[in-house]
């Protein structure tokens, strides 16, 4: 399994690029893996986890804008996957299943927490991530950090519903119909929200670029 050390060794996931590579495999295979895990095959879960962990984590970090909250939500989502493994049916895409759980977890979190609690800021987390790449050149890291900051700032200006639809589109690779199903709205509503989100993000990014 690329990018994933086995659960027997207990070692962490090796490199993010490997996890990104396996994300492109078919949804049918994901469904079969989930069913295999429900039958008790741990290796199937490890493969499934390696495929979707990064995208799910990005979605939750961007949504919550707090890495500690994102960590908690991330665990909660996978916990629900584990608990509901027996109820999963192959006719539903695993990604839709996973991001529906993630969306619901985040909504539950918003209901629980009216205000954003203190925690590790996303700026700190991104900076830490950037510093771990030993091969990157300092000038490139600086440019990437600036671009990242603009992106986060633009995302923060979006209304919750628009940010939700946009992140689902970007991180989960779900279709518009699937995003609509996950968020519980009609397809046209989802499309409209996504259109507004993209327009605002583009405008914000360009404005930031002009200023800098």
């Amino acid at each position: 399994m690329d990018g994933l050390t086995t659960s027997e060794t207990g070692a962490p996931f090796a490199h993010p690029r490997a996890a990104r590579r396996v994300e492109s495999v078919s949804d049918d295979e994901d469904a079969q893996l989930m069913l295999a895990y429900a039958r008790g095959e741990m290796r199937a879960f490890e493969t499934l986890y390696s495929r979707h962990r990064a995208a799910l984590y990005r979605y939750l970090v961007r949504q919550s804008r707090d890495t500690e909250i994102a960590n908690d939500l991330f665990q909660e989502v996978w916990s629900r996957v584990i608990v509901n493994r027996g109820r999963y049916e192959a006719r539903a895409k695993f990604r839709t299943f996973l991001f529906t759980l993630a969306h619901n977890c985040f909504i539950d979190h918003c209901r629980r927490m009216k205000s954003r609690p203190a925690g590790t800021s996303i700026e700190d987390a991104d900076a830490a991530d950037l510093l771990t790449d030993d091969d990157a050149r300092p000038e490139y890291e600086l440019e990437r950090a600036e671009n990242s900051r603009r992106y986060r700032a633009a995302l923060a200006t979006l209304p919750q519903e628009q940010r939700d639809v946009y992140l689902l589109h970007e991180e989960s690779d779900l279709s518009l119909e699937e995003i609509a199903r996950v968020t519980g709205v009609g397809t046209e509503t989802a499309k409209s929200r996504l259109r507004y989100a993209v327009g605002k993000l583009k405008a914000a990014m360009m404005a930031e670029a002009d200023v800098s």
Binding site: Y49, R53, N84
Partner: protein, 189 residues
């Protein structure tokens, strides 16, 4: 269709990136979180957690219901049968019914001076007592006084025989033998 619409459609179809997202490749869950999730997943299948219990419930509930009905039915049957087979109350005359007496109707006991009722041994326990024949009842009432005592009765028989009333003496003797079986079967009589 405007340029913005084309651009958006390309974005929807994932043919175009509207802006760079440079950090997406490095934003990863912490290794500790990975370990926690994988450990939870492993423990869930090792301990046969909730999903299998839920599957079991599909047949578990009817089974539990059937078992409960069976137990209830068994208890009901036991209680019902116990009531039906209850031992009847023991009475003195019911015990007497079981004694093995020789066939006899009603006789007068000469020694006690009272009438003793004996019942056939083959009579059913709950059956009503047989009615006394009217003639026998009358005989009991008209029995001579000497029959109340064995010695007197035998002396009377002896007296009748000495007076030459052999027929009467024989009749009395026959009656005496009938009422005193031991005397009747004695080898010297």
């Amino acid at each position: 269709m405007t340029e913005h619409d084309d651009e958006f459609d390309d974005f929807l179809a994932r043919r175009r990136k509207l802006f760079r997202r440079p950090e997406q490749d490095v934003l990863e869950p912490p290794h500790e979180v990975d370990r926690l999730v994988l450990r939870q997943a492993r423990e869930a299948i090792e301990t046969r957690g909730e999903p299998r219990e839920i599957r079991g419930m599909a047949w578990g509930a009817p089974l539990a219901l059937a078992a409960s009905l069976l137990v209830a039915f068994t208890i009901f049957l036991n209680v019902g049968l116990t009531k039906k087979e209850r031992v009847p109350e023991v009475k003195v005359d019911q015990v007497a019914l079981r004694r093995d007496y020789p066939p006899a109707t009603v006789v007068t006991a000469p020694m006690a001076g009272t009438a003793v009722r004996e019942y056939r041994s083959d009579a059913s326990p709950g059956a009503p007592l047989p009615a006394e024949p009217a003639a026998e009842a009358g005989a009991t009432r008209q029995a001579p006084e000497w029959r109340n005592d064995t010695g007197t009765w035998l002396a009377e028989i002896q007296r009748l025989r000495s007076e030459g009333k052999s027929a009467e003496a024989d009749a009395e003797l026959a009656e005496f033998k009938r009422q005193h079986k031991a005397y009747a079967v004695s080898p010297d009589r």
